[in-house]
Symmetry: C2
DNA sequence: CCTATCTGCGTATGCCCTACGCAATTCAGC
DNA sequence: GCTGAATTGCGTAGGGCATACGCAGATAGG
């Protein structure tokens, strides 16, 4: 019943059949998607219009629609392609999941526009699923059941994605406010926001390395998972 | 040096001075923002155009620009207002952070469009900062230093936000693929994605309650934080 | 060779944000 | 009260955007 699937997924999984008659295609889906990713990486998602993409490809805007149903479908193809292959994982679930999560975070830094696109559907693209599969493989030697493994991989994903969403925005673009710490100090007073004011007074936002928040959160999550694994390991302790 | 701040922030913090001359304003920023949130909640962010918003308010589209510099600024105001006041927290850092994170997740479910808007800047809106402050307050009685507290609150935020981003999309909108588990089973074979195929065979995606993934990840993170707190507590153990 | 098929793309539509400027309204100061 | 400055609502218009539709030329199977 492959016929019931949306066209997008058929193309993605190579189920769509290639035409035999007609002229040789000058454009190819791969070239379109690669160029679109290039534009989004360099100039941001807002700069990616069908017109600009066509100009970069040396064709007319409407030519793109022979290969892509609409712009949303193009975005799905881009999301599928941009992450590339997931990394090989070192032995040990903890090192494996840490490597996987760091690689995922690196993808978001390389392609920040992914964070602005919402799938509108749970992941069914091969690109996403290969990452999920690789993440799950980190738990192969653990006593966690399959549901727990999915939950833990997703938790790690949320952490990497969330931190990237804030950090990536901090690095790129024209900063609206140049001195973040200074602006905070100006607004946050002890009687409005006591806990936050204390943290600011402690200099937390002064010279924060952007990586710290991610690594600290990941370490805590891994510790928590370790507790669960130890509790489920029969012999160990 | 408040004058160096962007206009948006001045308005947000009530620093902007009110005009004394000129006609009584028929429109107010509060009414514009509230109506915009209403539209985005009901019909999605894509349905929120300046024209539609004006129609709902009974004014001309260009009238809005007397109160809002542009659409991006409107989105910032909406993001500031929509979350409302953070919840009061129960005693104990663990219950406190759990309550805070669940409330945050509920905000994303009530206003899914927030997940599609990127701030373009670290948070300086009073609405965001009040939530951050409340989250930090959960750690008041713990030996964690201020930097660690911020890191842990952010980690919890990432988790709630990330899970909402996937779940909210799953609940709303017209599902592209009705039978997700069935589609997965069709595509994922053991030789492509071995770990994922095992999970699917285990029935993980068949009848998953959407809350499970969030609560499981949160429990693990809290366990990890507990380890850190215990390690830093002098007397306890 | 004929014909079904496929590609590239020109034209045109409708939506979107918003720059600009005008007219009406209101208040401060005289 | 009068005058001028400030402020509001908004009509017009321009530029960008995605994309429906249909045509011309190229191609390969029969």
């Amino acid at each position: 019943m492959v016929s019931e699937l949306p066209r997008t997924l058929k193309v993605l999984w190579g189920v769509a059949d290639r035409p035999t008659r007609g002229p040789q295609a000058a454009l190819s889906l791969d070239r379109i998607v690669a160029t679109a990713i290039e534009i989004a990486d360099r100039d941001g998602l807002a700069a990616l219009s069908m017109a600009r993409l066509a100009e970069r490809l040396g064709c007319a805007p409407m030519s793109l629609y022979r290969h892509v149903a609409n712009k949303d479908e193009l975005l799905v193809f881009m999301q599928n392609t941009a992450p590339g292959e997931p990394p090989g994982l070192p032995p040990g679930w903890r090192a494996g999941l840490a490597t996987w999560t760091r690689a995922l975070r690196a993808v978001y830094f390389a392609h920040p526009w992914i964070l602005q696109t919402s799938a509108g559907r749970p992941p069914l693209e091969p690109g996403q699923l290969s990452w999920l599969d690789r993440g799950l493989s980190a738990f192969a030697e653990t006593p966690l059941d399959h549901r727990e493994r999915v939950q833990m991989v997703l938790a790690a994903l949320y952490l990497g994605r969330g931190e990237a969403q804030i950090s990536a925005v901090l690095l790129s673009g024209t900063p609206d406010v140049t001195d973040y710490a200074g602006a905070l100090e100006r607004f946050v007073t002890a009687d409005c926001f006591p806990a936050l004011a204390q943290a600011i007074a402690g200099g937390v936002f002064r010279d924060d390395q952007p990586d710290n928040s991610f690594e600290a959160g990941l370490a805590r999550l891994l510790d928590g998972i370790e507790l669960l694994i130890d509790a489920k390991t029969p012999g160990g302790n």
